[in-house]
């Protein structure tokens, strides 16, 4: 499956990835609307949280709004989603995202946009066994 691999040790906390992600999908620089989250984990160290395409959410979805594409990426069909947020609760990595007032959750779809812009090479699209 295709997924965004993170290298937290390379991250400098510039938040470029969050900016790129929220701009791309919400047309807004808003950390709350980024599928990747950078958070401080001590002096000059950061935690990177992003979906690893594990599919637990798909099993929880009551309307089968969450599916897996040919590349192994987990996708949400907004037309089928009834906004229950069960997937958000079920996500073992807390990377099925929601924001205040938002109805449909969102997540990383391994689009590579953030990785391309990351100045330190802390993000990379990779493929692993399902």
């Amino acid at each position: 499956m295709k997924y965004l691999k993170t290298f937290a040790e390379k991250c400098n906390g510039c938040n470029t990835c969050m900016n790129v992600c929220s701009q791309l999908y919400f047309k807004k620089d808003d950390p709350e609307k980024s599928a990747i989250q950078v958070s401080p984990a001590g002096k000059n160290s950061y935690t990177l949280s992003v979906c690893d395409q594990c599919r637990v959410c798909a099993g929880e979805c009551p309307t089968q709004a969450i599916s897996v594409n040919k590349m192994g990426v987990v996708l949400i069909n907004k037309n089928l989603c009834i906004n229950c947020l069960a997937c958000v609760a079920a996500c073992p990595t807390a990377t099925m995202m929601t924001y205040r007032g938002g109805l449909v959750p969102f997540k990383c779809i391994a689009c590579d946009a953030c990785a391309k812009e990351c100045p330190t090479g802390a993000l990379k699209i990779e493929v692993k066994e399902n």
Binding site: G59, T63, N83, C84, L85, A86, L103
Partner: protein
């Protein structure tokens, strides 16, 4: 593959429809959880109309069963019987219902004058019908009158159209009918999820224990699932009106379909409970993997699992019906919520179950359940310890539209009468109704569905059979009264209340008969000894029935209240109330409606409706102290063998509580002594409970109390005055 493995021609069935009446209405959004209108349909006159919901009705009755009871009260008189044309089937949701954020928010409440009790019965049921009805434009619907032909009522919630259709060719039994209806009313596979049907079955036609099946489409199994409005004969009234089905179709559901005032609080509160369930359920009740059937071995261990018509509370073979057995039968790892967004997900099913008897013998079917009550009723109580027999009984009960609880309890009663020589093979129409004979139990049910033989007698319930056996066979009336497990005409649900005075009250000091909807105090009383005095028992028998009523005002399920608890719940002063979850309910109610209630006002909302229902019973000629007594078997040992099975407990009790030395006394003597004591205890309990509830010694709500709680409608006050 079709559930019933039988091909049917949907087009042919559809072509046979004749539109008897069509009605159009204006589509409007739900605002703050309400439509402010209800739907009225009369099957005799074919009248269809919408009724406004006055502000006063919302204030006094809130929604759900409150609305049902108000509509039903206005529709019937004191002389209305279950099969009178003016009796209604009322179905409502409630302001919170249909939200997809908070688990357990998809319940419909069905109310009618019960054939079993002659007073209102209300059932809280899952499935998608209620929420779809709500988002189609109606807070409740009432169906009055009787049709002279088989009909389906179709509500098209996206186009504002209602039809009464003559429907001669559809199946009657629910597992086939629901599949036909989902296919017929959906334009394609994807639309099947937007359809929900209410149906009964052939068993409901010939018995007084008919239930209603509320469907929802299971996308993964590609079959309809069925949830039951089980108690008190709702399906019987439905079929008596010649209704084959109600169908609603609605698409467009979102997380804000209720137009809540405060979506953020609703989402936040729902998400908190989702997380609690997902992280703690495995360590707590295992609702997500086993559902309510997790209770079987717990009840057996605590001597509370009814066996042999409630004689005993445990059985060595009960282990064959334990939770781990059901876990293997239930298909795992599928979201089994009966409404969207319910992560409690307890509506488990057995897939591809091959039937061994009856008209569908050899078919591989999907069975909804069994849940705990079905295991207790159709398993341990008639001493049937074969899990596959229980699954098969469960399946046929559902598809025939028969209540598993009443069926289980009445079957136990029949087997008890059989063992005691009151019944025999001849009197049972050739059936050997011996303990554990599941083939005979199933054949009895097939007779009910065919409307023949002993099934016609048995299907009228325990109360009817008591009178029938005395009249026809000269049976001992007192003995039958003692062992017939019903109250007000409703069969008792599946907990052994013998050693818990509070649960005796929980079952029999109720508005509708011995069910587990109003109060379930066994653990508090018997296991944890938290309510030792009459006053404490009375307080619990005030608080819990009133609190639990609130779920059915709102269209909520009770299970996410206390079948999951916050990790720190035990640290609360009153852990049995699960205070954090009660606050959740206050918060989501306020978030949807924009009201600003607190926990006190929440109880007041319920108390109004609870008392109204008590007065409704009075209107129907019941609802007083003499209606509130249990059969003695619910209170203590009727027979020597029952006494001796718990002799140590009873002897100690006699010595300690009554100051009587049991030494040298025969079991018969000791039974009498114990009985006198327990019956006195129950009288004292009634006094304490009625006082706490604001009722007279005779069980009538006083005028002062009704005024205090705001249920002082002129017709209510006028009615109680006649009885005070």
């Amino acid at each position: 593959m079709s559930a019933n493995e039988r091909k049917y021609d949907i087009e042919k069935i559809k072509d046979a429809h004749k539109v008897l009446k069509e009605f159009t209405y204006e589509l409007k959004p739900v605002v703050r959880g309400y439509n402010d209108r209800t739907l009225y349909i009369n099957l005799a006159t074919l009248e269809i109309m919408e009724k406004p919901v006055p502000a006063e009705m919302k204030k006094k009755f809130i929604g759900g069963k409150g609305f049902d009871l108000k509509l039903l009260w206005d529709a019937v008189s004191g002389s209305t019987r279950w099969d009178s044309p003016e009796n209604e089937i009322c179905i409502a949701t409630g302001p919170i219902a249909g939200n997809t954020n908070y688990p357990g928010s998809g319940k419909s409440i069905v109310t009618t004058i019960s054939p079993a009790t002659g007073i209102p019965i209300d059932c809280n049921v899952g499935g998608h019908f209620g929420p779809y009805l709500k988002f189609s434009g109606f807070d409740a619907m009432e169906i009055q009158g009787k049709s002279d032909r088989e009909v389906i009522i179709f509500i098209d919630g996206n186009h504002g159209k209602i039809q009464i259709l003559e429907a001669p060719l559809e199946a009657v039994n629910s597992h086939v009918l629901a599949e036909q209806l989902h296919e017929m009313f959906a334009a394609n596979e994807r639309e099947k999820q937007h359809v929900s049907a209410v149906s009964a079955g052939t068993g409901a036609e010939h018995t007084w224990i008919g239930c209603l099946n509320f469907s929802y489409w299971d996308k993964r199994r590609k079959l309809p699932r069925l949830k039951q409005a089980g108690r008190g004969g709702t399906g019987t009234v439905f079929r008596n009106k010649k209704i084959k089905a109600l169908v609603v179709k609605y698409s467009g559901l979102t997380g804000k379909s209720n137009n809540p005032v405060d979506l953020e609080t609703l989402q936040k509160t729902g998400l908190k409970l989702h997380k609690e369930i997902i992280s703690l359920d495995d360590k707590q009740c295992q609702m997500r993997t086993i559902g309510t059937a997790h209770l079987v071995e717990i009840m057996n261990d605590y001597d509370l699992l009814p066996t042999k018509n409630f004689r005993y509370g445990s059985h060595p073979e009960a282990v064959k019906l334990a939770s781990w057995v059901w876990k293997k039968y239930f298909t795992q790892n599928v979201p089994d919520g009966c409404w969207f967004g319910c992560t409690m997900s307890c509506a488990h099913g057995v897939d591809n179950f091959e039937l061994k008897t009856g008209p569908y013998k050899g078919h591989k079917v999907l069975v909804d359940g069994p849940e705990y009550e079905t295991v207790g009723g159709c398993g341990s109580n008639p001493a049937i310890f074969d899990p596959e027999a229980v699954i098969e009984i469960n399946f046929y009960c559902d598809t025939y539209g028969i209540d598993t609880i009443s069926f289980g309890t009445l079957t136990g009663f029949i087997m008890d009468c059989y063992e005691n020589g009151i019944l025999n093979k001849e009197r049972c129409g050739g059936l050997e109704m011996t303990w554990g004979n599941w083939r005979a139990a199933l054949e009895l049910m097939h007779q009910m569905a065919r409307g023949e033989g002993f099934g016609l007698v048995a299907g009228k319930g325990v109360k009817y059979m008591q009178e029938y056996f005395v009249k026809e066979y000269g049976a001992d009336a007192q003995f039958l009264k003692d062992i017939g497990m019903h109250g007000k005409g409703l069969e008792q649900s599946e907990y052994q209340s013998k050693e818990s005075l509070a649960q005796q009250g929980g079952y029999y000091l109720t508005n509708k008969g011995p069910q587990h909807d109003e109060a379930w105090l066994i653990f508090m009383d018997m296991v944890n000894n938290m309510i030792p005095t009459f006053e404490k028992k009375a307080e619990a028998l005030h608080y819990f029935p009133v609190f639990r009523t609130w779920f059915s005002l709102q269209g909520l399920c009770k299970l996410p209240w206390n079948d999951i608890e916050p990790a720190n719940n035990a640290e609360n002063d009153e852990p049995n109330k699960v205070p954090e979850h009660v606050q959740n309910y206050v918060d989501i109610y306020n978030a949807i409606t924009g009201e600003k209630i607190d926990k006190k006002e929440m109880l007041r909302q319920s108390e109004r409706v609870y008392n109204f229902q008590r007065v409704f019973n009075l209107k129907m000629g019941h609802g007083k102290r003499p209606d509130d007594y249990p059969p003695y078997r619910a209170m203590g040992p009727v027979t020597v063998e029952e006494y001796e099975s718990r002799a140590e407990r009873y002897d100690t009790l006699m010595q300690e509580k009554q100051g009587i030395d049991p030494q040298g006394k025969s079991s018969e003597e000791k039974i009498k002594i114990l009985r006198k004591y327990r019956e006195q205890q129950y009288e004292s309990l009634i006094d304490a409970v009625f006082k706490r509830r604001g009722w007279s010694k005779d069980g009538v709500p006083t005028v002062e109390h009704l005024k205090k709680i705001g249920m002082d409608l002129p017709e209510v006050i006028a009615l109680v005055k006649k009885h005070l």
